[in-house]
């Protein structure tokens, strides 16, 4: 067998091809995949946009933490695809220390995640300025989106899917669930194979998130009917679907949540206009 190295011109050629392949268009959808910077880390971003705009409202969907950031990807990708097929846009991203992003998940704070959401929003606005970009979130991502929207000014509409609006309690529950699943044999400081934040007690409680949401422009919560209700201001419309939250959320439930969220965006758009 030969032992060769790539010639520099081959490497340059490859890099050019990777750049070309970071965009795809077809079936009325334009896709972009890219990295953007946030708090010194390099985060992965993935944009789904309609080739032909039919509605201006677009959402950056903030993911949840750890296992949920991966296991709820059916919800996220179905939502993004539906948004693009409906003439709108959505952006997904991997938070610090997750997926294809750099960073140390355990050392990541709520402030880092809020900044990541804000930077993702900026990246989306730069790439597709024709849309009106707002923040949405799944599970813990809803708390992060709420905080980020509050930091960005009053009156921004939000879209929450099965929100977890008490971050400190979210991590406590995650750790408990992981211990139950592993019959108590799990390693300390991690849940379902993912590190937990080093100081979960420093994460905001329900009151702090509620305060942030009070300054928002309301929005929509899409949730499963049997899930424990999360306190949201009256300015939020609730869309409840059959079923209840479980960590292994079946794909049909994930798809139903995503479909309902995409329909909710159309209603939200009408109310805003």
């Amino acid at each position: 067998m030969r032992f060769v190295t790539s010639r520099p011109d081959r490497v340059d050629e490859r890099l050019r091809e990777y750049d070309r392949a970071s965009r795809w268009s077809g079936r009325g959808i334009d896709r972009d995949v890219f990295f953007f910077s946030s708090t010194g880390e390099r985060l992965y971003g993935s944009l789904f946009a309609a080739s032909k705009l039919r509605g201006p409202l677009a959402f950056v969907l903030v993911p949840s933490w750890g296992l949920e950031s991966r296991s709820l990807d059916v919800t996220a990708h179905t939502f993004a695809t539906r948004m693009a097929r409906g003439g709108r846009a959505a952006m997904l991203f991997h938070p610090p220390g997750h997926g294809d992003s750099t960073g140390d998940a355990a050392a990541t704070s709520m402030e880092d995640l809020v900044m990541a959401a804000t930077d993702a929003l900026d990246a989306a606005r730069q790439r597709r300025p024709q849309f009106r970009w707002e923040l949405g979130g799944i599970r813990l991502g809803a708390s992060i989106a709420g905080q980020a929207a509050a930091n960005g000014g009053r009156g921004r509409p939000l879209l929450f899917i099965e929100p977890a609006l008490a971050p400190a309690a979210f991590f406590e529950e995650l750790e408990r669930a992981s211990r139950r699943a592993g019959l108590g044999r799990r390693a300390d400081g991690e849940a379902f194979g993912y590190p937990l934040p080093m100081h979960p007690e420093r994460w905001p409680g329900a009151e702090e998130i509620a305060g942030a949401l009070a300054s928002s422009g309301g929005g929509v919560v899409v949730r499963l009917r049997g899930s424990p209700p999360e306190p949201v201001p009256e300015t939020f419309a609730i869309r409840a679907l059959p079923g209840s939250w479980q960590r292994r959320l079946p794909w049909h439930s994930q798809r139903a949540l995503a479909r309902s969220a995409a329909i909710a965006v159309r209603d939200l758009e009408r109310s805003l206009s």
């Binding site: 990708h77 997750h98 993912y194 960590r247």
Partner: protein, 241 residues
């Protein structure tokens, strides 16, 4: 090293993938094939970090989400055409790294596909099979209904062997050395060791752990370290020929 996100065009739709280029001149290419329904990033960035570790040694690494999953969600080929979509993705990568020998890393139910890729490649240098799942693959529709298996879930013991997976491994063994990595506590260990011996593969049993599901950060670190070491050994072997 540098990561490059790409959307590989296939007949079924775009496959979301990441190519990791080493800082130095590349000496080999590598495919990482996660288990069925697996994401290219793996549990807690397992495959992301494995790619980075291999790139440190001069390997260009390609890992993609399976068609219909995550960033490949727009590629919905159906069961019959899934293999073709994966083959198109691999062909795209190999067209850009044709001058380099190929390492293939497969995990769990991705081992069959990994072996098949190695068997068909022009210049396979080695296959690393991590806790291979040798039973028949569940139908996609059943996977969808069940949702994602929880981390740490274990396959049933003594599954009937899937003849296609065994054949793929057998064909790959005829073209490149196969190295099997399995945990002492993995339920499939005995089946895996039996097959590995039949194929003349080397077997590395990691003591006191189950690799399946990579349920803890400690187990993830073991896999990354062992795969990186296997990569270095293969590269040294290739250089010595």
């Amino acid at each position: 090293m540098s990561d490059h996100p790409v959307l590989v065009p296939t007949q079924a739709g775009p496959l979301g993938a990441i190519v990791t280029e080493p800082e130095m001149a590349a000496v080999a290419a590598c495919l990482i094939v996660p288990g069925v329904g697996g994401h290219r990033t793996g549990v807690n960035q397992l495959w992301t970090r494995t790619a980075w570790a291999l790139a440190e040694n001069g390997v260009v690494v390609f890992r993609m989400d399976w068609p219909g999953f995550a960033e490949s969600s727009l590629a919905m080929p159906g069961q019959a055409k899934r293999k073709r979509a994966i083959a198109e993705g691999v062909a795209w990568f190999r067209a850009r790294t044709a001058e380099l020998p190929l390492l293939v890393v497969g995990a769990c139910a991705g081992v069959g596909a990994a072996a098949s890729m190695a068997a068909r490649d022009r210049e396979p240098a080695g296959v690393c099979a991590i806790e291979p799942y040798l039973g028949p693959l569940p139908r996609r529709s059943r996977l969808r209904l069940r949702g994602i298996r929880p981390v740490g879930g274990r396959p049933a013991r003594r599954q009937p062997l899937d003849p296609r997976t065994v054949e793929d491994l057998s064909r790959a063994a005829g073209r490149a050395p196969i190295h099997v990595l399995v945990g002492e506590r993995d339920r499939s260990r005995q089946d895996v060791v039996d097959i590995a011996q039949r194929l003349g593969a080397t077997v590395e049993i990691v003591p006191s752990v189950a690799l399946h599901g990579h349920a803890t950060t400690a187990v993830q670190a073991i896999t990354i370290e062992r795969v990186a070491r296997w990569g270095r050994e293969i590269l040294a072997e290739v250089a010595g020929r």
